[in-house]
Every structure is written in C-alpha cells, then in structure tokens.
C-alpha cells in the first residue's frame, strides 16, 4: 500500500517538551512521507495533542529537531507552519457554524477583485471553487451560501480538509477527526483521508480508535506517557496488539476479559 520510495517530508527527531516541571514529551521521534497516512495513536494524556501542536507550530520543542523537506525548521507560529505547507485540522475548532461554507472555506485567504482603488472579496470565484472542491470530496452543497451549521460533523471535517488541501498543504495533520462522529460519517471522513493520501499528501492521523487507524493507516506509531512505544508497518500488527500498546498492557488485558470482549 505505501510506496516507501519517498524520503520523509516531515521528520521529528527526539522531541522533548517540558511545561515547567511536567515533561509532556520525552524524546519522541516520528516521520511522515508524501502519500502516506501515518497514524498517531495514544490514550488521553499520552501527549498526542502536545506533539501535534509542536508539529504545527503552536509549541516550540524544548529539545529535538524538526526537519521539513530535509531542512531544519523552527516554526514561530501556526501561520509559519501553514505557509511552509503544514496544515492542521482541529477536532472542534475547524469551522464557524454561523458563516457560509464559502466564507469558512476562504477564511483568512479571501480572494480579492480590484474595482478602481477598492478591493472587494471575489465571491464569484470563491463560490465556484468551493462548490468544485466540495464535489471532489463527494459532498454536494445545496448552495455555497449554506451555513456550515447546517452540515453534519463529518461534512464539516471534510470542508476543513478540502480547504487545507486546496491551499496547498503538503502535510495534513488531523486531530481526532472521527472521534465525535457516527458510523456513516466516520466512513466518509476515512474515505476523504484516503483520497487526500492518494493525491500525494502526507497525512498525520491522530486517533485513539484502533479500528479507524487500521482502516486507512500505512504506519502506526503509539505514544504513551510522552514516549513512542514504537512504529509498526501496516500488516505487521494486529488490532489487539495496538490496543494493548495504547492502554499500557496488563491492566487492559484484565479489564477486557472482565468486560468479555474488545473495548
């Protein structure tokens, strides 16, 4: 599935992040290649959020290096990372429900049209592109003026993903895009991730759901208590093994048997 001919586009080496006395990340290494979906798994508090925030320029690592397209990088803000081509889609902060799909899609990068000395937002282009990009992702909008609030959770994630892709993301970081969704919507988002990956974009998919990860992932890295517990290739690991690694082994086995099935 994964063509491992590409060199990694983003490499994080020995990342440490301390918040005062708290060591949130203790030497995490991770990389992602173009056209690959690399899943980052971990239970709550494992350091997933801190790690992706370091990747997307929100936090600066205390120690460690970030290599982007082979060059050492230090992002001062999410804006910097975005300009370089690293886009992050956050779980709940992706869209503004009261605004139209077009206004959301172009937020922060509005196309402008000059009329004499004035510059207006070019709604004609904006609407047309929005409709087209959404259709590519398999979502039919009634109208580009439709408020994002009228879309389902999965569709909102898709708008955010389509937006990141349209604006030239080379690395797409998805922060638990499926955690609040129903079965059908989850399937839609996962198929969107698959489309994005096939377009040659490097996808970092953060989740704590093993089945979602296995559905689209090429490689899997498990974080636990601020450390990586290793990276596995697709086909080299079973769902049970992944689940155990995430939860930290023994206790989970005991818990699972008492519940009589897979959690």
């Amino acid at each position: 599935m994964s063509d491992v001919i590409h060199a990694p586009i983003l490499e994080m080496q020995g990342i440490e992040k301390h918040f005062g006395p708290v060591i949130a990340l203790n030497g995490v290494s991770f990389d992602v290649r173009p056209g690959e979906c690399h899943c980052l798994l971990g239970d709550n508090g494992a350091g997933k959020s801190t790690f992706i925030k370091t990747m997307s320029g929100v936090h600066k690592p205390t120690k460690g290096t970030i290599l982007f397209e082979g060059k050492s990088m230090s992002f001062d803000s999410p804006r910097d990372a975005m300009t370089a081509g690293i886009a992050t889609v956050y779980q709940d902060l992706a869209m503004i429900p009261l605004m139209s799909v077009t206004r959301n899609f172009w937020m922060g990068r509005e196309p402008v049209r000059r009329v004499g000395p004035f510059r207006f937002m070019d709604f004609k282009t904006a609407n047309a592109v929005t409709m087209e990009e959404m259709a590519k992702m398999g979502i039919n909008l009634r109208s580009p003026d439709q408020a994002v609030g009228t879309l389902s959770g999965g569709e909102r994630q898709t708008v955010a993903i389509a937006r990141a892709v349209y604006f030239g993301a080379k690395v797409l970081i998805l922060d638990e895009p499926t955690s609040a969704l129903g079965v059908r919507q989850t399937a839609n988002v996962l198929s969107t991730i698959d489309k994005v990956r096939k377009a040659g974009i490097a996808v970092v998919f953060i989740t704590h759901n093993v089945r979602h990860a296995l559905a689209v992932g090429d490689r899997f890295t498990v974080l636990n208590r601020g450390k990586t517990l290793g990276t596995a290739q697709r086909g080299q690991i079973t769902p049970e093994e992944l689940q155990d690694m995430m939860a930290g082994g023994q206790e989970m086995v005991a818990l699972e048997s008492s519940l009589g099935g897979t959690v």
């Binding site: 975005m82 992050t88 503004i96 009261l98 172009w106 510059r119 937002m121 409709m131 259709a135 009228t150």
Partner: protein
C-alpha cells in the same frame, strides 16, 4: 444546484421560502419598519407627521440612532460590546466645547483633535479587552463611568458649570464645522419653496424661507456610514474577518485572521461613530452638556438586536441595524405626533427588545441546526 450530477440527499427537506427568508438577519426589522409606518399612517396620518417638516423631524431623530447603531452593529458582529458609547458622546461634545470656546482654539482643530482623542480611547478600550481577555461588557462599563466622570469634572473645574455654549459663534466661518452642522441641498429646497411645492414660513424673521431648508448633515452621515459599513462587512475580505472574529475567535486565529486587530479596529469605529453623533449634535445645538448621550449605548444595542444581530457575535447586518434605528426614531417621534404620553416609548423599547431577542434565538437555531 449541483453541477456534478450526483443525487441529492433525499433526507434533506426542501427548505421553504419562509425559512430561507427568516435566515436573513434583516427580515424582522423590515417587517417592523412596515408595521410601524402602517401604524402611524393610520393613527397619526393627519397630524403632520408625514408632511415635509414631520418627515424631516423623524428622519433626523432616526439618523441619530442610525449613526451609533452602525458602530455598535459592526462591533457586535465582531463579538464585542461597547457600553461607553453614551458617555463617549457626552465626552466628545464637551471636548469640542472646551477646546473651541474655553481655550479659544479654531473649531476645525477642536473637531479633529476630539476625533483623534475619542478614537484613541476606543483603541484603548479594545486593547484592554483583547489583551486581558476580560468581557468587553465589564471593560466598557468602566469606561462608561470614567468618561462620564471626566465630562462632568472638566467643565465644573474650568467653567463652574456643566453646559458650555457659544459654539455656534465660534464655528462661524469655520471650514470643517459645516460638514457636521450644515445642510445639504439648500438651493434645491429654496427652489421647491419658490415652486410652492413645500411650505414656507408665513411670518417672523424667516418669512418666505422654506420650512425645510435642506437635508441636515446628520442624515447624510447616517447614509454614508450605513453604505460604507454594509459594503465593508458583506463584500470585503475585512468583512469576512469581522464575522470570523465574532463567530469563533479561536477558529479564526487558527487560519491566520488577525482577530485582535479586527476587534480593536471595531472599537475604534464605534468610538468614531459616537464622535460623529456628538459633533453633529454640538453643531446643531451650539452647546455641549455633561448629560448628553445618556442611555445611548443601550439604544444602539437594542437597534442592532432588532436588526437581527446575535448578542453572541458572528451574525448580523448593518442594514438591519439601520432599520432597527429607524423603527426607534419613527416610534419615538410618532408617539409625540399621535399625542401619546412619551414615557410609553420606553415600554415599547422593552417589549420590542424582548421580541427581537426571542426571534433571533429561533433564527440562530435554524442556521446552526441546534435543537
């Protein structure tokens, strides 16, 4: 709608025209304006409310409301309030009076310096709100008291009174004052009078002059502000940032919208509008009083809410706010023409505010799909 040929989702009900129309923020205000005009045509139609002087009367009052409502509207859409608007009106008027009358500076200089001063105070309020993350309700409430306090303090200390007059004399021949206190189209109205289309004074010192001698600059300012604010809000990149900042500041920041700058600019714009109001008022009355502008902040907010804006930000319309302001002006003056006790105006305000907020909450649910 779709050009891709895919089947539309059969579960999406066709939205009725009524629902589509309801989602426009201005709808309630349009209905309100029609209702209010119908009401007064029926009950005060023969009272002179709709002859040229009557129209001028309520349009001038409406224009006052419009000017401050435009500022409050943009700020509310950006997700903030400014409760210091009323105090700012008093403060700006007093500032012009002290500079031009007490200090004897040219009126144009007093006006320009006052604009600089007031817009800077707006910027200060905005900066405090953005930096501290405190609710703008509290920060601007502090400025409500601070500015009102100074507005009473300075004339008391300097002139030993709270009303400063004599601005009309000072403004005589000034180049900037007519932009606020002047009238537009005077020759046209004289011509109308000569043609016997509009009434003229039949006695007194102004005999032969038309009763309506021109369109007050106040109305011109109101129209210009509405048009500019509406275009900026709906048709420009900056307008999109205003909606985004009020809709969800964090989401806007993530995509690179300079939320802090947008909010501070909107506080400055609100202060600008309050200063326009104050300057027009001072030029019209020829005096500044320490109690000017009382309660104006609330009237502005009510007009904006009637206009369909959400108190929580991110949704609203300048046209709606202007219509809300017109409802105000027409009802306030209309009750006078209809011979109704004017204190009932406040009752009306309270009732209509309640209705507007309930309607807006319902509309919000339709848009966001909440239940």
């Amino acid at each position: 709608m779709s050009s891709t040929g895919m089947a539309t989702d059969e579960r999406i009900r066709k939205t009725s025209r009524l629902r589509t129309a309801l989602v426009r923020p201005e709808l309630g205000a349009i209905v309100g304006v029609i209702a209010v005009f119908l009401f007064f045509i029926v009950f005060a139609g023969d009272s002179g409310m709709f002859n040229p002087q009557g129209v001028l009367n309520w349009s001038t009052v409406s224009a006052q409301f419009v000017i401050i409502a435009v500022g409050a509207c943009m700020l509310m859409i950006a997700g903030e309030f400014d409760l210091s608007v009323g105090s700012m009106i008093g403060f700006a008027g007093m500032s012009i009076a002290i500079m031009s009358v007490t200090l004897g500076w040219p009126v144009w200089m007093a006006i320009i310096l006052t604009f600089v001063l007031c817009v800077s105070i707006g910027a200060l309020t905005g900066t405090i709100v953005v930096r501290t993350g405190l609710p703008s309700f509290i920060v601007s409430l502090a400025f409500l008291f601070i500015l009102r306090g100074f507005t009473i303090f300075f004339p008391q200390v300097i002139e030993r009174r709270t009303i400063i007059g004599g601005i009309s004399n000072a403004a005589e021949g000034d180049w900037l004052a007519p932009l606020f206190g002047g009238k537009l189209g005077a020759p046209f109205f004289t011509w109308l009078a000569d043609m016997n289309i509009i009434a003229t004074y039949s006695r007194g010192s102004r005999m032969g002059e038309p009763m309506v001698s021109g369109i007050p600059m106040l109305i011109v300012w109101a129209l210009v502000l509405v048009v500019i604010a509406h275009i900026v809000l709906t048709r420009t990149k900056f307008g999109n940032w205003v909606f985004a900042s009020g809709g969800d500041a964090q989401a806007a920041r993530y995509v690179g919208v300079p939320v802090a700058r947008v909010k501070i600019l909107m506080f400055m714009f609100t202060a600008f509008c309050a200063t326009v109001f104050a300057t027009c008022q001072v030029m019209e009355f020829g005096s500044a009083g320490a109690d000017r502008g009382l309660l104006k902040e609330f009237e502005a907010i009510i007009a904006v809410v009637i206009g369909g804006a959400l108190l929580t930000g991110g949704f609203g319309s300048v046209i709606g706010a202007a219509l809300g302001a017109i409802i105000f002006g027409v009802v306030q003056q209309g009750l006078f023409f209809a011979g109704v006790e004017s204190s009932l105006f406040r009752v009306f305000l309270g009732v209509i505010l309640l209705f507007a907020v309930i309607l807006n909450t319902y509309i919000r649910r339709i848009i966001t799909g909440e239940r």
